[in-house]
């Protein structure tokens, strides 16, 4: 029998080269001890691309005409796109009960609300925001836009389909499920009323120029995305958020994330339901 001890070997130098390349592409940073993680997640790509080792894979990523598609594939494989509706509900309570009413008061002259789900993965967070905006009852005749971006085309295609299985609803109130989703063969499809408020785009959080397409934003949700970045990438992403937010606009991070040692530009606001950041 042919015996294969392990996966194709990723030596220390090629690991560093691949790591640098991925970082350059999307800001995702791997620490030195992520060597085996990268080896395991990418090993099957060698076979798919018809390559014999990781050195050839590096050359493929540098020069092949399909290099961008392959880099997207890497991002898919090294990040966790698992998310669900109404995740971290107390932060969403702060959005619904405190932030949205404040923005309603602040922006009533222009009657326009823009919420950005940054690094939206398969779209659950963006649709959750749209549902909360509808539920608030404050923005009926406003120009409401919820924008979700991700670097991966595959997750954006799932987001646009807006059809989700059970895993996406582990924290969803039955009332919302009935009101804003339609049953579709054991899965749930987001209703047109919600979909109409939401749009998606393939944008890289490191790319300040293309992020200008998002325009002025009232609220940014960027939860459990910065964990993939190193200090420098986080600072760049936060600086980009700062540029896009209006004065008084809010930035909501995941609960394991903070701006400590990242930025002094935002103030920490103690709302009743959560602590969030605001552009002064």
């Amino acid at each position: 029998m042919i015996q294969r001890e392990d996966l194709p070997r990723l030596d220390a130098e090629t690991f560093r080269l691949l790591r640098d390349l991925i970082y350059e592409y999307c800001g995702i940073h791997f620490q030195d001890d992520s060597h085996y993680l990268l080896q395991r997640r990418l090993a099957s790509r060698l076979e798919t691309c018809g390559l014999s080792d990781f050195a050839e894979y590096y050359e493929y990523l540098r020069y092949h005409p399909d290099r961008n598609e392959e880099l997207e594939e890497i991002v898919e494989r090294v990040t966790t796109n698992e998310t669900y509706f109404f995740r971290e509900s107390y932060q969403l309570d702060a959005l619904r009960l405190e932030i949205l009413p404040e923005i309603h008061a602040m922006r009533r002259r222009g009657r326009r609300l823009t919420v950005w789900s940054a690094g939206c993965a398969t779209g659950e967070e963006a649709y959750t925001c749209a549902i909360l905006i509808l539920e608030s009852g404050l923005f009926g005749d406003w120009d409401v836009r919820v924008f979700g971006n991700d670097i991966s085309r595959r997750v954006l295609s799932v987001a646009r389909k807006a059809v989700y299985g059970h895993n996406s609803f582990r924290q969803t109130d039955e009332r919302y499920l009935r009101r804003y989703f339609r049953q579709q063969g054991g899965r749930h499809q987001v209703t047109e009323e919600v979909k109409a408020l939401v749009s998606f785009g393939q944008l890289n959080l490191m790319d300040a120029d293309t992020l200008s397409l998002v325009g002025e934003v009232d609220v940014i949700l960027c939860r459990n995305v910065l964990i993939y970045f190193n200090l420098d990438s986080r600072r760049r992403a936060i600086a980009n958020f700062y540029r896009r937010l209006i004065r008084g606009g809010y930035l909501l991070l995941g609960h394991s994330e903070s701006l400590l040692n990242l930025s002094t530009a935002f103030e920490l606001v103690h709302l009743q339901h959560d602590m969030v950041y605001r552009k002064p």
Binding site: M1, I2, Q3, R4, E5, D6, A12, E13, R16, L17, D33, S34, Y36, L37, R40, S44, E47, T48, G50, E59, R62, Y63, H64, P65, N261, T264, A265, E267, P280
Partner: protein, 687 residues
């Protein structure tokens, strides 16, 4: 020095804004300071570091960290360390001094010698900077009468490291003060220094030191530490058990092979309650503990640990250790893994399938085959692909038909995995696999994958099939045939077909043909490949140039020189590489020109071409590359200089060592210096 006496209007206005009750006004005032040196700014920024708002303090620290005259800012920051009434200011001053780094070291050491209540903060700043100049003064501070200062000094030394630090910290283990001993133990663990067992043993029974002392046992390098560690593995305190797990793996890593075997045997006799404790450690917060627990459970081969180890495969940071641990169970893991895979969710199942090949002969088991075949037929893409890969290693004849069916599912990832598996099984069952391919024929969407299978088997009898496929209307199939043909024995018909395929209308087919001709290595292909090196598609040019390098015929030299100088990316890099293989002295100028190419891969190819050339220009080129902005270029330059064996390289290498920050490059420099003969004068030449 910035005295703060000659304040400009900008500073006065900023100072006025710092009086605002609005923290954003105060923070913006600091952020808006113009870049560069400003008279009076240091005093203002130090004042701002005492602000009640963390945002203002951090902004001031960030500004001071980039101050153009760091030495001028240091005295004010050191003075701020003695501001007893303002903790925020003191902490911000330590942070700013750490950010300033080396220019702050001498003033901090002077202040340390001068004494005073704020010496602990000075020591903290020195530790955060980590400069070796501070080692002796910190060793002195560790022997002083102030207990807080002693502990802080021990901690700071642990951030600097080195042999002198290790000796001082080991000596400090005798100190009567508990906090000093604790800080010394923790710092020894941080720097990974070896600690003699006789120094650790007395500390094991001191409750407050036990955890740190157990951890230090892992650095004792002595098999006599083993009974103490096994005892600690059953300790009532979880922290001690965690330390024991980590220490055992470290002890094993540093022990001779014979000791590892003994450890293996000892752990196989661990009682059930200790195994249960180790299983709990698989969920510890510290990943080093989780990895250690997985490793020890693998050595123990305790069957009750297998489900937990399997679940740990989901933990990215521990996956490798857990997989290795499960594999070490050997045949005993087969039945439990089959049962676990049957119950596992879609995330875990592929990880479990990946383990079967690591069980070697034990995985050639009917239960494994049935499980994988079912996954191949019924699983989602990722699940089925993992099953296909595993079947390629451990499957028998009965796996062949399901693998063919998997190719027919029309999912690229799965079909690629199944074709790879059939190729591997084809080494054992070539007749069966070929018969199944022939029955299907090379038609339709599965044909490119079947070409891969035939290529992997590599039997001359299949050449006719592949030559036919090279004429198919599908470009994907023609490409796959061009990729497979070179794996069969050399043949004039195959060579002619591949030469003709260089004129294919599809660029991927032309590139595959060019690659194939390089793999065959027949000099008859040189003229055609030279023509292909002018292809409008860069991918085809790169493949043609690479193949010309593989064939190594001097007729291509003119083309290669042209492309190395004028083309870009992969084409230029492969042309450099091909010129290296030709090894002609007249090409040195082209290679030297490559050193200033904007693409680091071209620079590396040029370096590989130059490193065996004896000329002074080649040597100078390699030395210049030591200062390249890319670490991988510098590393290759270092390795090339080391391999040349020219003692003149020692000076430039030592000079580079003094400023190099990249660990891989530093390690390469050490290796190169070891390999190079010493010279009479070891002065560092400038770069």
């Amino acid at each position: 020095m910035d005295t703060g006496k000659a304040e400009t209007r900008v500073i006065q206005e900023t100072r006025a804004r710092l009086g605002s009750p609005d923290e954003e006004v105060r923070r913006s005032a600091i952020a808006a300071l113009p870049p560069g040196w400003l008279p009076g700014a240091v005093a203002l920024l130090v004042d701002a570091m005492g602000d009640g708002s963390w945002r203002v303090r951090k902004e001031a620290v960030a500004r001071l960290a980039q101050w153009p005259d760091p030495a001028g800012a240091v005295p004010a920051l050191i003075a701020a360390l003695s501001e007893d009434a303002n903790v925020g200011l003191r902490n911000a001053a330590v942070e700013a001094l750490a950010a300033i780094g080396k220019p702050a070291v001498v003033p901090l050491l002077t202040a340390l010698r001068a004494g005073g209540e704020h010496r602990k903060l000075i020591v903290d700043a020195l530790g955060a900077i980590g400069d070796p100049q501070a080692v002796e003064p910190l060793c002195t501070a560790m022997e002083g009468s102030d207990e807080n200062l002693r502990a802080a000094a021990a901690e700071a030394l642990g951030r600097i490291g080195g042999p002198r630090v290790a000796d001082a910290l080991v000596s400090a283990l005798h100190h009567e003060d508990l906090m000093t001993r604790l800080a010394a133990l923790e710092s020894l663990a941080r720097i990974g220094a070896q600690v003699p067992l006789e120094r650790i043993r007395p500390l094991l029974d001191v409750p407050i030191l036990r955890r740190a002392a157990v951890l230090a046992l892992g650095q004792s390098g002595s098999a006599e530490a083993l009974p103490y560690l096994l005892d600690a593995l059953a300790d009532r305190t979880r922290g001690v058990r965690e330390a024991a797990a980590v220490a055992l793996t470290r002890l094993s890593a540093n022990a001779p092979t014979g000791e590892i075997l003994r450890l293996d045997t000892v752990l196989a006799r661990l009682p059930a309650d200790v195994i249960a404790d180790l299983v709990q450690l698989l969920e510890a917060e510290d990943r080093a503990v989780r990895r250690a627990a997985a490793t020890l459970l693998g050595w123990s081969r305790a069957p009750q640990a297998l489900p937990a180890l399997a679940a740990t495969l989901r933990d990215d940071q521990v996956h490798h250790a857990a997989a290795h641990a499960i594999a070490s169970f050997g045949p005993a893991a087969v039945a439990p893994l089959c049962a676990l895979a049957a119950e596992a969710d879609a995330d875990l199942r592929p990880m479990l399938y990946d383990l079967f090949p690591r069980l070697h002969a034990a995985a050639a088991d009917a239960r494994v085959g049935a499980l994988l075949a079912r996954a191949l037929e019924q699983g989602e893409t990722e699940d089925a692909s993992a099953a296909a890969r595993a079947l390629g290693e451990v499957g028998g004849k009965e796996a062949l038909a399901p693998l063919f069916h998997a190719i027919e599912r029309g999912e690229n990832e799965l079909a690629t995995a199944a074709a790879g598996a059939l190729g591997r099984l084809g080494a054992r069952y070539s007749d069966e696999v070929r018969m199944l391919v022939a029955a299907r024929g090379l038609h339709g969407p599965t044909a490119p994958y079947l070409c891969r299978v035939l290529g992997a088997i590599g039997r001359p009898e299949d050449r006719a099939l592949l030559l036919g496929a090279l004429k198919d209307e599908s470009a994907d199939l023609r490409r796959a045939a061009a990729e497979a043909l070179p794996s069969l024995a050399p043949d004039p018909d195959a060579l002619a077909a591949l030469l003709f395929a260089l004129a294919d209308e599809s660029a991927p087919v032309r590139a595959a043909a060019a690659r194939g001709l390089g793999a065959i290595g027949d000099a008859q292909a040189v003229d055609a490949l030279v023509s292909a090196a002018a292809d409008p598609e860069a991918a085809v040019r790169a493949a043609a140039v690479r193949s010309l390098g593989q064939i190594g015929d001097s007729r291509a030299r003119g083309t290669l020189r042209e492309l190395a100088s004028r083309d870009h990316g992969a084409v230029a890099a492969h042309a450099m590489e091909a010129l290296r293989r030709l090894g002609m002295s007249g090409d040195e100028q082209v290679l030297l020109g490559g050193l200033s190419h904007h693409d680091p891969e071209v620079v590396k190819a040029a370096l590989r071409g130059l490193f065996r050339r004896p000329s002074g220009d080649a040597f100078t080129g390699l030395v210049r590359a030591l200062a390249h902005p890319r670490w991988d270029v510098r590393k290759l330059a270092v390795e090339s200089l080391g391999e040349r064996g020219d003692a003149r390289a020692r000076g430039p290498l030592m000079a580079r060592r003094a400023v190099e920050a990249d660990e891989l490059v530093l390690s390469a420099i050490e290796h190169a210096l070891e390999a190079l003969p010493a010279t009479g004068t070891e002065g560092g030449a400038s770069l």
